[in-house]
Symmetry: C2
Subunit: 433 residues, 2 copies
């Protein structure tokens, strides 16, 4: 696999001398036309099409794994890190997991057509608001090839078309997965343009997607912080994303000591690389068992960086710098501060939270309710591990991502977040006086 | 009133040598701090504060009308058009209307705290989604001084802070109205920074508002097309707006002739300058009374611009150019096309609608339901005048505007559209396995 063959493969589906803007416009228009057809597709037909896509993914295992082997070989030649190669690698079990996930999405309830509200006006007009698909969703992602199937399935289940742009390292894997998905969907009568993979790795095409207002209705970036930051900075299309998961756990004076130690350990150490992992622990100065909570984390191999009062709890706690309070470690590292009561905890969280997930541990119901009311994050928890911040754990069946913006959808976003609504007005000839 | 005194007045509240960006950041931070306090304010307290503001507006009538007289004099000196002066002018009756509107908003149900959904997970976690304010809303508007009170009241009622930037022609009126509103609100314990008027007419300050991502959560432009277009083009903050109201009425083959003539006349001619007025009439080739509908509009003084088949209906119909199908006249002018059935009507609407409001007139229930399902506009109507596209007519009590974007809120936007939600998770010590 040479760089040259990769470049040649990049040109599949892109027309000679077509600018990235023209390419994105052409695919987006095809996607929008397909979406208009999708809007007329029944719930059962969409579910059947996704089951057919899952079957094709299983059947195409040899082709998909062969394509993945090309990506892995190219990645090794390029010197990708072991972690990156692991994210990229598919095997029989992982591919079965991808197909299973598509089948699970097929089994989710279709949000389209749900009546959100109804009313009748004094003049007899009947009003209702009904859920409809958003339209064409752009997905920009990095090296995990499973996103190709996951994101396409969620978009399609909710009646949206999807235009995907995966990472160049996963190019062959993504194309093979997309080919199988498309074969399954079209066999069930879904137009092929309902899900499309951008046929170029030209970075200018990402810029063209980000600025395609009126053509792409929403962009969902899936990947690391630098990808999300670039998308948020450059997009002229609405973006659904979270940049950081700087999640806090506040151990209140009235917390049960054993629960506090257990939840702190789980919130940080269960998986340190997920966006819902705790990055800052706030210990109430009145909480009597802070030293034990700190010791539990240190003994589990977590590096602690604390303020003066936190460092007094255990000599192994390192000195925190100002930046530590605004850092998402995604690692076995945690900042720890001792705070003077609920108000100080709320102030710290207001100043430093990324508005993803923040939690309190307390046996005091009034303190819990104040925390729930006043912390302004997408997810606010009482007596639970912040690692529950996940669409599956919330019972949504799947998630396209977690959003920390303020509009449209917040927290784990699944099918409902991929819909919007319209107002239907049924009259009998009413003219406005 | 000289240009110099206006410039001097512009500097009130703006600090010497403060850049527009620094000014907007300072006011936005004050607004955000006030909003955190507002979030703790009860429904009753917010309602009482708005009633106090309405009382202050009534009491301040002499001061507000005197300020308005300064604006009118300056506007006349500047040679503003009669229509602009009319929009600017306040009198005792109009001011009473402004105060009444604030009082009506006080009487609306508070959306904050509403539980949107609840669920319990198998592990015992209790999930709920509750409505919360969006945060700090930026309002950018033109010459109508009533927007100062209207928009501030709607933001405050839904627990949001507001940063307002009115047109320079209404500077003194806006300041006088804001002073009265602030006096009322603060007398009821609301922080003054909850509603603020930008103390400068420097156009760069508008740019600073539009790019204040992270400081201003949403911008609502209220005004003409050029204002909205500028805001949509330059904003890095989410915008809730509609640019155009290119609204269609399609008269289906099975329409009642008298109803069709009555609704077409009302949709166009009741008020030609509102965004919900019809701009294109589509007549089905099978509808037998098209000539009567056309005649009714012409006889009422409407200029009609049609395709060849529409011109054949009446010699007074002028020739439509290609641009006519994409033009919002906001005047007694209408484009008219004869179409070959429902599919052709749907295609025309898909190609030319601004996704604001589109209507069908028909006695055929199946055609009506297809139109409702397939027209992808914020509001879709059957057998009703598109002029009903209005928050008041929809029973929302008021509206901050009509949105034609696809995310967050569509159609008439009132208090609910000024809220977002957060997830509350109540546990009893659950750690994630």
């Amino acid at each position: 696999m040479t760089e040259q063959t990769i470049l040649a493969a990049d040109q599949i589906g892109a027309r000679a001398a077509e600018t990235p803007e023209a390419l994105v416009a052409r695919l987006a228009q095809a996607g929008r036309a397909a979406q208009r057809e999708l809007a007329r597709t029944s719930d059962g037909q969409k579910a059947a099409a996704l089951r057919a896509a899952a079957a094709e993914l299983r059947q195409a295992e040899p082709a998909i794994l062969a394509a993945n082997a090309l990506d892995i070989a190219a990645g090794e030649a390029k010197g990708l890190s072991g972690a990156m190669l692991d994210r990229l690698r598919l095997d029989s079990g992982r591919l079965a997991g991808i197909a299973d996930a598509v089948e699970q999405v097929a089994g989710l309830a279709d949000p389209v057509g749900e009546v959100i509200s109804t009313s009748e006006r004094p003049n007899g007009l009947q009003l209702s608001r009904v859920r409809i698909p958003i339209g064409l969703i752009g997905i920009i992602y990095e090296s995990r090839p499973n996103v190709t199937a996951d994101a396409a399935a969620l978009c399609l289940r909710s009646g949206n078309a999807a235009l995907l742009r995966g990472g160049s390292e996963a190019l062959h894997s993504n194309r093979a997965i997309m080919a199988a998905m498309t074969a399954g969907l079209t066999s069930a009568g879904i137009p092929a343009a309902a899900i499309q993979l951008l046929p170029t790795q030209d970075r200018a095409a990402v810029g063209a997607m980000l600025t395609a207002a009126g053509l792409i209705d929403m962009i969902v970036p899936r990947g690391g912080k630098s990808l999300v930051a670039r998308v948020q900075a450059d997009a002229r299309v609405p973006v659904l994303a979270h940049l950081d998961g700087i999640c806090h756990t506040y151990v209140h004076a009235a917390a049960d000591p054993a629960m506090a130690a257990r939840l702190a350990l789980n919130a940080k150490m269960r998986r340190t690389g997920v966006c819902g992992s705790m990055e800052t622990l706030l210990l109430d100065t009145q909480f009597p068992a802070s030293a034990e909570v700190v010791r539990g984390l240190l003994d589990a191999g977590c590096e602690l960086r604390g303020d003066a009062r936190a460092r007094a709890l255990d000599p192994r706690v390192l000195i925190a710098s100002d930046e530590d309070w605004d850092t998402e470690y995604l690692d076995a590292v945690l900042s720890v501060a001792v705070v003077d009561g609920l108000d100080a905890a709320l102030d710290h969280i207001a100043a430093h939270s990324s508005h993803h997930t923040d939690a309190i541990v307390t046996g005091d119901a009034a303190a819990a309710e104040r925390f729930l009311a006043e912390v302004d994050s997408a997810i606010v928890m009482v007596n639970a591990s912040s690692q529950f911040a996940d669409g599956g754990e919330f019972g949504l069946g799947a998630e396209i991502g977690i959003a920390t913006g303020r509009l449209h959808a917040r927290g784990p976003v699944a099918l409902e977040g991929l819909t919007t609504y319209k107002w239907l007005v049924r009259g009998t000839g009413q003219a406005r006086p």
